[in-house]
Each structure stands twice: as C-alpha cells, then as structure tokens.
Symmetry: C2
C-alpha cells in the first residue's frame, strides 16, 4: 500500500521541518540551545505544586481523574475571567473556553474558519506554530511587513485591498501585539488604534495571540486589542505555557459567546476535554495567589536575563550584526549580513554546541534567511553569555570566509 497516495491534500505538503530535525541534534551534552521558547525550570514552584496536588487528591480527586467538560474546569474558568475582568475585559464565563495549550487554539481556529485556499493575514515574521496550524487546513498566509511600532497599516491596507479586488476576502488577521514572536516588537498604542479602526471599517475578524503579555519589563502597560474593542470581533488567545508551566498543557480562548460556542463544538471532536487534573492545579494556584507570586519572580529574573544578553550581544557580536532590543517577551531577533544564510549557519553552530531558530521558520514563504531568533529565558545567564560568544565567533569565521 502506498500511504502517500492516501494522504489528505492539506497534509501531503506538511513535512518534518528541516529546522526541527536540526534542533533535535541539540540534545547532546554541552549544547546550549537558544532555540526553544521554554521557561526556565529552575523557578518552577515544585513545592507548591506538591501542596496543590495533595489538596486536590484530598478534596476533589474523582473529578480530577474523570472526564471533564469540553468548556473546561469551572473554577479555572472563573478565576481566569475574574483576572481578565480586573484588567478591563468585559467578559463572563461563557466568553472563555479552556484548550490544551494555545497551539490547540491555533488548530481550532483552522478547524472553525479555514477552507482550503482561504487567505489569512499575519505579521511578517509570525509565530511558526500558527503558520503550521493554518497551513494544515489549506490556508494561504499573506504576511504583512512590520516596523518598530508593529504591523504596517499601509502594507496591511494595500494587501487587503489587492486581495479584495481579486475576490479573496481574508478570513482573519492574526496578530501577536505584545513582544511579538519572533521579532520582539511591541505594537504601539497609536498603531493598535489604527489597525483596529481599519479592521472595524473593513469588517475584519482579528485574532490577538498573547502569550508574552505578562512579560512587560518596562514601559507602560498598553491595552490589549480585546479591551480596546470591548471584545467585538476579536478572538483573544492566552496560555500558561510561558507564564507558568508548559507541562500542564493549558491555554484559553476569549471571544463572543457565539464564537466560543463554535470552538467548543470543534474541540469536542478534537480531544473531548483538557485534563481536569492539570486544570485543577492551575486553578488552585490562581485561587491561592501563588501564580502571581511565581509570575513576579520569573518576570524579574527574565528581565535580568534580557539585560545580560544585551550586554553579551554588544560585547561579542561583530558590527555587521544587529538586533531588536525588546521591552518584554522571551526573544531577540538577530539580523545577519545579507550574504549569510542562518540555516547553513545553524548546521555549523550545532557543531560548536550552540543552537537557535533560523529566521526562515517564521515566514510562510521561506524569507528571512539571514535572521535568527534567540531565546533568553531558558538557559542560565552564564550559558546565554557563552552561547552568544560561541555564535559571535562562528559568525566572524563565516564572515571572513564568504
């Protein structure tokens, strides 16, 4: 039997990514990988996790180990709703559904909205997991250039108008306004206003993916797109994978009741429910204020790591290499000289025991070959410094040879 002949069209083009295969090679002793977007596990509140687990086993073991509802654990939903209400979101329980990590939210967006050949607007670059999820439903990504204030209104306008003229109205506009992955760019207030006004005028559904919002190291807190529009025609995605622990596999979607209802129907066919056990751990952390305690610690520590990485970049990188210095989030986006190819560089970097994600992973059409995303949250300050040093020395070698 030729399995290849049986594959769904949308799936056939999906390949094991070359970059992912390269990053698999990083599981060797001495390697310092700046490739992932992982939290630093040294701060995981293991003792409190133990206490929370014991409390759940004492009071609620059966519900934790049995099937749960598709919508999610009600205590967790209530805690999240309360938290968002305090931030200015006008939402109630029916506006929030729990998902199995925010990657599932991206998959469900595809399931609910994307027909084969539908167009989706996104930032250029954008999150590789979103690109993968939308492509898996046959969506076509139209990536819109950004400047230091965020996605460009002019570029958005011209892309949207061109699509409209060819009769291809995009399904939605996918944005990561806060400390964008991978660019690190924080969308300015005036840009938020402009983009929302344009979306409103043109009846464009906006998806606001916001994993890094809580990691604002400095500058005033800008309102989320969801708050600014009072939730109208906005889908907001949140997750505990960066601010808490990815092993729990918990994210959530906030939207109108009508849209949440569609996500619940889609999730029912996808995985029935998210683990009630991990949801109850998260709920208890919110109830006890332990999540905020933890967040305060990691936010402070990640800020120090970012500052130290800026120092290392200045100290070691050749002049021709530049980068964006983010006010929050988990990443630096590095620009190599145009003659360099970051995927080729990664192969050599792995030999030198340092890894990163080449920029092309973040563009739907393989642009960005001379960029790299490096993460500063996962490794220690010392290892981040060594990694930057190794990378800089490799870049100097490369620059000398090409």
């Amino acid at each position: 039997m030729k399995i290849n002949d049986l594959l769904a069209e949308n799936h056939r083009s999906m390949q094991r990514s070359e970059i992912r295969e390269l990053l698999k090679l990083t599981a060797v002793p001495g390697m310092i990988s700046l490739g992932g977007g992982l939290p630093d596990p040294q701060y995981f509140p293991v003792e409190r996790i133990r206490v929370a687990f014991e409390e759940i086993m004492e009071t609620d073991a059966v519900a934790a180990l049995q099937y749960g509802t598709t919508e999610g654990d009600n205590v967790l939903r209530e805690e999240l709703v309360r938290r968002y209400q305090a931030l200015g979101f006008r939402i109630k329980l029916e506006n929030l559904v729990i998902v199995s990590g925010s990657q599932q939210a991206l998959d469900l967006l595809g399931k609910v909205f994307i027909n084969k050949c539908d167009t989706i607007l996104c930032e250029s670059p954008s999150y590789l997991g979103a690109i993968g999820a939308f492509l898996s439903y046959g969506g076509e990504l139209i990536d819109i250039p950004m400047d230091s204030d965020g996605i460009s209104l002019e570029e958005l306008t011209s892309s949207y108008e061109a699509l409209k003229q060819s009769g291809r109205i995009p399904k939605f506009l996918y944005l990561i306004p806060d400390y964008q992955n991978p660019s690190g760019i924080h969308m300015s207030l005036s840009r938020r206003q402009q983009i929302l006004a344009y979306a409103y005028e043109n009846d464009i559904l906006v998806v606001e993916d916001s994993p890094y919002r809580e990691f604002n190291f400095e500058g005033e807190r800008l309102p989320s797109l969801y708050e600014m529009r009072g939730g109208k025609d906005i889908i907001h995605l949140g997750t505990f994978s960066k601010t808490f622990m990815p092993g729990l596999r918990i994210g959530w979607i906030i939207a109108s009741e009508e849209i949440i209802d569609r996500f619940v129907i889609a999730k029912q066919n996808t995985d029935l429910c998210t683990s009630p056990l991990t949801q109850k751990i998260a709920a208890l952390f919110l109830q006890k204020g332990w999540f905020d305690d933890y967040l305060e610690i990691v936010k402070r520590e990640y800020k120090v790591k970012r500052d130290e990485m800026i120092k290392a970049l200045h100290e070691f990188m050749p002049e021709e290499v530049t980068w964006f210095e983010p006010n929050g989030g988990l990443f630096f986006f590095i620009n190599f000289p145009e003659r360099m190819n970051a995927t080729e560089l990664l192969k050599k970097a792995i030999e030198k025991k340092v890894a990163f994600v080449p920029g092309s992973a973040f563009f739907p059409f393989g642009k960005g070959y001379n960029h790299a995303r490096i993460n500063f949250s996962y490794s220690s300050i010392e290892n981040n410094r060594i990694a930057v040093q190794r990378l800089a020395s490799l870049i100097r070698e490369e620059m000398a040879s090409i």
Copy 2:
C-alpha cells in the same frame, strides 16, 4: 460581523448535538445517567496516584512540568511497546506515538487522511466520537451492517464494490472489533480473518480502534487485527480512558513508522505535545505493575455489574424490548419496539431521573431511532438496577400510549 458567514464549510454543518444538550440536563440530584462511557471512579487508585506523583516530583519534576516531545514520553512509550510485544505485536518504539486521548487519534486520522467528500467505511452503528471527527474533515461515512459476528463481509463487499465502480475508493475501514461501542459485539475469529483477507486483496487501510479490548469478561482472547496482519496496513488505537483514568488524557497510535511519522507531523501542529506530567504518572503505574493491579480489580467489578444488569433487564423490561448481551466492554445496546423513538423517550426519561444515549447518535445518517445505549460501568449496581427499573416502567407507559 456575521460569524456564520466566516465558518469553514466542514465546520458549518457541525451543530451542538441535541442529544448532548439533553444529556447536559442530567447533572441534577437524583439523576442516574447510563449515558456516558465513564469508568467507576470509586476504584480510582488515588493513594497510589499520590505516591507516583510524589516520586515524579522527587526525581523528574522539571521534565514533567516542561514541554515534552511530540512523540511522547519515552518511558511510557517503552512500557507500552513492551506490553504490546508480550501480547504478540511486533513493534518497536518508532511504531507508537502518544496522543491526548484517543479522540485526538480520531481527529489526527481526519487531518492526515481525509479530504472533503472522501468516503470512510465503518460499522453500523459506530462510535459517535469517530463519526464526529471524520465528518469535521468533510468525510462521508458509509456504514456497513453488522451481525453477531461483527461487520458483515457481504455488506462490506457490496458497499466497497459500489463505491469503487463510482470511482470513490474509501480512505479506510474504521472498525471497533472488541466489544464494539455501542453494539457490544465482539468480532469472531473467522470474521476477523475474512475481513482482513478482503482488506488485503483490495488494498484497504484498516483502523482498529480498541478501547475495550482489556475488558474481556469471558471467552478466549482473540488476536487483534494488528497482530493478525503483523501490523501491515493497520492502524491500532489504544487509550487509558477506559482501563485507567480519563483525566490523564492519554491514548496512543500503533502503526508503521511511515504512518506514525505522518501522525507526529500532524500532532505537532495540533497541540505540540501531550502533558508530560500525566504521561509520567501513567508510565510509573505501568513500571510498578500498579496498572495491572488496577485493571484486575475493575475488570472483575465491571463483570459483576454486567451480570447484575442482565438480571435487572430480564426482571424489569417488557418482552418487546430486546438487547445484546456482551462478553466484555462497557455497554448494552437496547432495541425498543419499532414504533418507539429513543430521543423522544430520553426527554421523558430525564424527567424520571434516568438517562441513556439514543441510538441515532451512533449512525451517520440518523438511523437507529428505536435503540438506546446504556452503560453499566459507571454507576453502582444498585443505581444501575434502579435506572433499569425506571426506564422499563417508562417504556411500559409509552408502549401503552402509542
């Protein structure tokens, strides 16, 4: 904005199921629901779960709370592979991927194989979660009648030939050979041989969904389709949701490396990974032999529950009501007189504080209106008996009035 206009075609037709909405009404005091397919939580090994959790926090906390690989926790995979090898499966690590409950396996089947309007062959009736998952990718289900030996070879042959003549080669044949949900039918050895021979001759990919296999209360253990074909062109699905605890959200797929590779790529875009925490709990239970201890207990208890429900059915049901008495699994499939409609009956049953799943939920085209699936694993023996009594008395009332 009209959200309805934005929906994907495959998703637009998905509605909140009437039956699911009715079953939501069963969360009231005094209700006895035979509707779900839930394990009895009184046997959940909570003390050992606590011990396992403590051990994980002591020795492996960081890996349990961090991102895991898409393929799944290697200890859990190794334990499962060893278990299947002992049963006669010729597999290695690369033949098994962990999924977030076997509903995710059904969703991934859709993602990997189903184009809009592809045909899928299944038993009639079949598992409602599989029907929902395949429909959500635009698949068209062709349900093949069963007899007491399983899916009918004659009916399969005539359906397949008819499809082939119209140029619509089915993507796969979806079967639940062991104590089928909802019918309870256990496919006989000779039928297994016949169906596999037919599938082999015609190059038909077979999906063997096997959640109830371990619940064989009597009779000899029949080989699985996967064993019988040495794994060739068979996809085998397993889960801990029935034999262990659904709250862990753990299932798995066994297939050729080539097929597993496709599932891994698809899962990557779907939820990145299944919770390492819940996987490590399950792995430890397998390693320590605690899973087998637990399985022995529930298998014994569920057999008693089945026996007691047979008694109650004989004692209370009117003569015109018949049922299949299964040798394993978790369900009875009840046949009402043809003039009765089980969905209508459910509305009245809920008032009488008893619930079940109407048969039409298990047929892709709303057949089976005069059937009901009742579960015997979840409620206590006493409550099962009361539920059957309530249901029988309602049926007598209905039969007298129509």
